[in-house]
Symmetry: D2
Subunit: 357 residues, 4 copies
């Protein structure tokens, strides 16, 4: 039922388990005649696997992408873009200890109940490794969007209790200079210390990513069920570990009055603008030309090396310590994933709007 | 592009402008042989238009539903259920004053930019009147779900700055006894006072609805893109005025450690349970049998009678006062809409899971 | 599973049983700003119910259409077009005699086996009355297409053993002047005599409809699964009683050599043309600008008043005579249905192609 | 717009150009826990590339399939099955001569007009090489169906003017023993002679394939738009070079009377049967438990080495001889493709029907 496909016109179909032969996907609906920069895709993949020192996943993968179709003489030709990334470092034996155990707050138990069978090798398809495929889709979508002048920027706003509040959009360079993708050096240091403390305890941390999209033309989004922010929300909630989504001023709008929350229009040199942007660039489900922005909340990763109580698949109460490679905090690595999902949504809605033109 | 259709197996197709002849819809995929209680649908429609005294919309509609197909001798027969509700009280003349003006934070401007044409009669299709169709779909889905033992309950948790925090699920009766659908009498009084103040100022208020779904079987939801919470989030973000969605402990998970946030499993009389329920009943995108709960943030309605600055469709800066009937706070009326969208999602995923069985 | 919806961008959602309250539908994806001629829709509905004297269905219906949304001040506004046609003359009692009997070559048996329940009133949803909804969709699509210069013409080529072979496209007027929609007077007389003989015997007749579509722009159709002729074929095979579909020279191509069958290109005044048109205007699944044409075979209607052997729903072998109103030959009435389905496919693919532009 | 995806619950997503790096696909919706026989898939792939001596394509490919996901410890696990087949023998230089020329009755011209760009290497995505992906999907679907007792058999009924008429279903062995997949030795010899004559002339031949599906349970198919035969027809018309489709007695039903065409029901040892099977096992769009059968007409392949008139992409009238490897008659090789498309349709509808159970 479409659980591995994303999008309406621009579509990504995804396959691959974290410890299978390979992961990959097919991108459909990409317009013909667009020049594609392959190194940019590789660079996006490498952003996703950023090494954060000893606090991140130990798995070393080159994540070499092979594009198998859809691009000819450097340009898209309107055909589906098939691609594959091999799993170089899959070690199923690592997981023999947890083969029969359901790890707390993982997908182990629900998956086995749903399908009657379980791929116990590192989470199988529920692993975050699957997001590689999304980053490929996002990299291609970003290339298309940037040719239309549309820019997507995401950064880490919170890790644990450390929060960076800012009102302007940081530059891509300032974000990428930061190992935690939080461009404020002072907050970043506090975040690093929190991660070090959690690592020492064998624990994990969550956080919040903020994303901004600028230069989106007016008119993207559908007015009833497929509102632009609903599509963005669905895309973000489809990322592993995400617990919440808000756009514009979000939850805080609940305690405002209409007169405080409304964005008044005005004309500035023949351009329609709003004085405030509590709407986050979307009104009635349709983009209004202002900056689109939203926030995404991530829970702490469920894999911790602290002993926990759980059950096995025979119905016994047991203890479990999840050893092996896992991140203390995935939030910095999730930044390109958030951007990628946003890029695919915007490109999809951009193409959809061509039907109305 | 599907902007007026909702669902995968259980589908709702919706039509109708707020000031057109009628609104209505088609429900597809409803299983055959299910007894349908028509008065229950009418009662749900009347919950949606609850009169909140002088603080709510003045529009008086009977919202009489005519079911035109799909039910024969009291039972569904597997065919699409077509239904129509006439717009009795449409007065297009009411809107002549704002015909050429884009109201701040409404869909007026974005709609006209998108389609090149505008239905200026009360928001046309962007009006909340369209949600009647969703309540019909929800009423039918609730009847199906309640035959499977699944119960959906929603209530008002916040209006303006007045918040009711509670840990257990209030009874349907206690919620419906409250004119604001907040079962805590003390909070309700504060909320009413806040609404009265806003009404006096010609202003409006937002709020938060919490929704709980119990007895959902294990296994609903898809593991990658169509996660159960992503579908719930998309459904909620598709309701007018919604600005945010979180499930389980939501945004607050971002500042917890894994050891605090994880839900440990245990066996209780051969039943698998979790000691905490920060996951909100969903793990890896799939229901785990625990209570599903989530929160939905509503902005204050954009229609206020306070004078605001805006523009007209000739590009002039103008002032506007939005007179006529509109709610001070729609949040209590949105409770059955939240329930309805949740019911349609759960029924859809319930039917989808039959394919795996 | 979409069994009542048709199309990708231009979509028709259909509801209604032949003896329920009403039938109707929703058209989604119709572009905004298009002027709509309502009397033309009514005229198309009346073409579908053409009285063929005593040889056709006795059911008298006015088939008055009520358009409930989507059109404002004479123009489409981009919102779904909801419409309803009441069933004026439904008499469930007519069918009490066949309530428990499965009529040969009807949908009675398969429907009940599929859904576990049966609407025995005149075939319920399997009745050809459902095609009214398609004619409405087709009438709207034709209006859009004719504004792009695209013309759709269908006529009766065969009834029983009487065949009219012609190489050019007859005019709409010459077809509509013929009660059997066969513009060749001599063949028409033979067809009428065949119908009279079959009527006298209580029997029924099948036939073949040919359809031609001219001025379709180059480039409609998808190259792999959604080929333009596959979509046309699927649409035609979705009409009741259709047994076969061929486009271009169809089945006869099987016995030709490539050198006989290939359509050579040439340039005529800067316009690309083909010398022959065995391809029927479609090459590699994509329109090439030549006339599109295809043929659709209809079986004789299953309802005959000759006594037949069959079974009842208790598993007894019984006899049945299907009395009451039914056509001797539906083929002439199916002409506007064939045109309508073709119009909806072409419009859908026309809109789809806008994404590539 | 879904042009590279097939199916509703069981889905095949396809990618790959004939002369690109590789072709492949993703199968979604395959139930978990099914044992998969990989050599059977390889054997189906080899059926598709059967060498017919000098009369068939000269391209030698091993068509080695790599399955990259979805199967673990010999069984499906409910995740998408990704697979890749490398193009070993792609020689883009072969095609430099026709780079700027539109071959008659090929997709060259329409493709370039649609997308504004052309992959001139052997037809790119319009090449029949793409059907490898369908054969993989079909092989997996056949394995699932055969576990439910459902059997699919196809054979060559006609090549050029040589026709084999038979009333019973030939055995798989008798078909596969025949190099032309026509189990009647006498007809096969005539067909071979016709092919030899065409080969000598540099010409090509078309033909007809008949397909039979037995043991399909009652109840598959949707009653309105997604009729089982409409889905089969759409699938067949989606195969390269197909010009027509008919099921049951097909076009010949057009000249029968209802009393001749109707299939009378009777009870035989508590089993519902029909005395004749003009319906081809489908009534009202839904399977009735009898044998499903249909016929598919193929035009002669467009690539011939006889000189033809055509145009180039500068708008000049030119001559063309299409040299290089191509089949004289593809019909025998299309047999497993017809079976594969049929298998995917039946499996898809089998899974869809689970929702009604």
């Amino acid at each position: 039922m479409g659980s591995n496909s994303f999008g309406n016109i621009f579509k990504l179909h995804s396959f691959g388990e974290s410890h299978g032969e390979a992961i990959g996907g097919i991108i459909e609906g990409f317009p013909a005649g667009i020049s594609i920069d392959i190194p940019m895709i590789e660079s996006e993949l490498s952003r996703r696997k950023t090494n954060q020192g000893l606090y991140s996943s130990q798995r070393k993968e080159n994540d070499n992408i092979k594009i198998l179709s859809g691009i000819f003489e450097g340009k898209t030709i309107g055909t589906p873009i098939g691609f594959v990334i091999e799993n170089e470092n899959a070690k199923p034996k690592d997981y023999s200890k947890i083969k029969d155990i359901y790890r707390p707050s993982h997908a182990d138990y629900t998956w086995e109940q749903k399908y009657g069978i379980r791929d116990y090798r590192g989470g199988g398809r529920s692993s975050a490794r699957e997001t590689i495929v999304r980053v490929v889709g996002g990299a291609l979508a970003k290339q298309f969007l940037s040719q239309q002048g549309i820019q997507i920027t995401a950064w880490v706003q919170q890790i644990g209790n450390e929060v960076w509040e800012n009102s302007s959009i940081p530059s891509f360079e300032s974000i990428e200079k930061s190992i935690l993708r939080c461009p404020d050096r002072k907050t970043e240091i506090s975040m690093q210390q929190a991660i070090e403390r959690a690592a020492a305890e064998g624990d994990s941390l969550g956080g919040i990513i903020k994303c901004s999209i600028s230069n989106v033309p007016v008119g993207l989004g559908e007015p009833v069920f497929n509102k632009l922010h609903a599509a963005l929300g669905s895309a973000m909630l489809g990322i592993n570990a995400v617990k919440g989504f808000e756009y514009g001023n979000g939850f805080s709008a609940a305690s405002l009055k209409g007169s405080q929350n409304n964005d008044e229009f005005y004309i500035d040199n023949d351009v329609v603008k709003t004085r405030t942007n509590n709407s986050g660039g979307i009104q009635g489900g349709i983009s209004n030309g202002e900056e689109i922005y939203f926030r995404v909340a991530f829970k702490p990763v469920a894999s911790i090396s602290i002993r926990q109580q759980t059950i096995d698949n025979k119905g016994n109460n047991v203890d479990v310590e999840v050893n092996g490679r896992h991140d203390v905090c995935v939030v910095p690595r999730a930044v390109p994933i958030v951007e990628s999902m946003a890029a695919m949504v915007i490109m999809d809605f951009y193409l959809m709007q061509k039907i109305n033109q």
